[in-house]
Subunit: 237 residues, 2 copies
DNA sequence: GACTGCATTTTGTGATCACATTTTCATCGA
DNA sequence: TCGATGAAAATGTGATCACAAAATGCAGTC
């Protein structure tokens, strides 16, 4: 034990006891997911290994693996020159995401209906109240986090091991762009179908839940369509 | 030029000129994809970083990132103790994969129909001939490779940036299990709907192509269902 | 003979170093 | 004033080391 070469363990991430999981890599990955889903990472934003590492107080190593994992799901993009950035949105890409969402999420919602009930409806209503509050307050970041919670509380109930990850991948892809649209057109214009979804959950009406989710996707993504008439890379942070 | 500390670049992977891309990581990832899609990696098989690295003549570093990327798409599984293995199949998981495939792949095929024609039909027919040959010869590995080529030659024509990666992820998940079933029941019992698909491509009949793909999925996966009546972990290498 | 105990090996994780490439930016010249 | 040029900084990639935890193998015991 020479006592000089022990460059192990950051040890002071901010939660030394590490309550939930272990592995700094998972922590970084979760941080990235958060940043993307809440729109803190805007399309086109450059992500550097050392920069992220310093920000999260870890070595570049766990960041490399986390970034690579996100890139595998197209949540991040590795350009030809090797640089990493949040993917930019294009009209055809957005159209495809909408199509994929409409194929998968209603299916997931329908499957979840049987495993949900009045208790869950109450929880969803509570989230929806906070969503309305964040919309009134113009807090887009909180809105996006809560909207994600709302949808995935439903989807998770389906107990899916395959469909759910696919849908998560889709959300990671469109969320950053979603955020830029809210920043441009504001959050006041938002119309969702959460109320219908809650009612469908309460009455265990699978068909109605399916339709509510589909309608919600259609409305939200229509709004997004108005956000990219031009190929404006103006919001590249 | 001290000439002593230059532990850079393996340099002799097997293709020094490196034709297509660069980056050892991508090479490893491609090797993993190949191994999974052709069924050389069977469900439950343990994958070790150092082992794979030695096998591919690279350092463990690129392997770590490649494995992590595959795990992000659930093509590999990182267990609670950290060990890496090819995921095992369960009846509900297989059912979900079938559902997801039936949702996405017919859609992709339908979209691809407009961008395919007689020339492509001829190419597909050529592949299908080789598929029949590999089935007669009992060469399951070649069959799987060609079957993948057949389907993705169609899907790729859709020019999809979102749906296609999702479908690729699904194939990586069920392919290893598919292989074990062929090993058990043989390849002679295989019935596909490639002939109908080729005809639909030739006549640019989107609806027919969609239906041919859907039928092909249903048949193939029904066969797989017969492969796991019990929860037999007997085929763990 | 089967089971428990410990020593050895294996394996994933994190950190650091070395290097090629690219980007950035300040300086110089027309 | 603007563009080219060069040095300096930044960045991704690959390799190696160190370490903890787990798996493995081997003995010794009941």
């Amino acid at each position: 034990m020479a006592g000089q070469s022990r460059p192990q363990q950051a040890k002071d991430l901010q939660d030394p006891p590490a309550p939930g999981r272990h592995s700094l890599r998972d922590t970084v990955e979760e941080a990235l997911r958060e940043a993307l889903l809440t729109g803190r990472f805007v399309p086109g934003r450059a992500v550097t290994l050392r920069g992220l590492a310093q920000e999260l107080k870890v070595s570049p190593m766990p960041v490399r693996e986390a970034v690579r994992a996100m890139a595998a799901g197209h949540a991040l993009e590795i350009r030809a020159n090797g640089r990493i950035q949040v993917p930019t949105m294009t009209p055809p890409r957005l159209a495809e995401i909408v199509k994929a969402r409409l194929l998968l999420e209603p299916e997931l919602a329908q499957a979840a209906a049987a495993r949900l009930g009045p208790r869950d409806a109450a929880r969803l209503a509570a989230i929806d109240d906070r969503i309305d509050a964040s919309l009134d307050g113009g807090d887009a970041e909180t809105y996006m986090r809560l909207n994600h919670s709302f949808h995935f509380m439903i989807y998770r109930a389906a107990g899916s091991q395959v469909l759910l990850p696919l849908v998560e991948s889709l959300w990671l892809q469109f969320a950053p762009f979603m955020r830029t649209v809210y920043g441009r057109v504001g959050t006041f214009a938002l119309v969702d179908h959460h109320k219908e979804a809650i009612e469908a959950v309460r009455t265990r009406d699978a068909a109605a839940l399916r339709e509510a989710v589909a309608a919600d996707i259609r409305c939200g993504m229509d709004l997004l369509d108005t956000g990219l008439p031009d190929a404006g890379p103006s919001v590249a942070e």
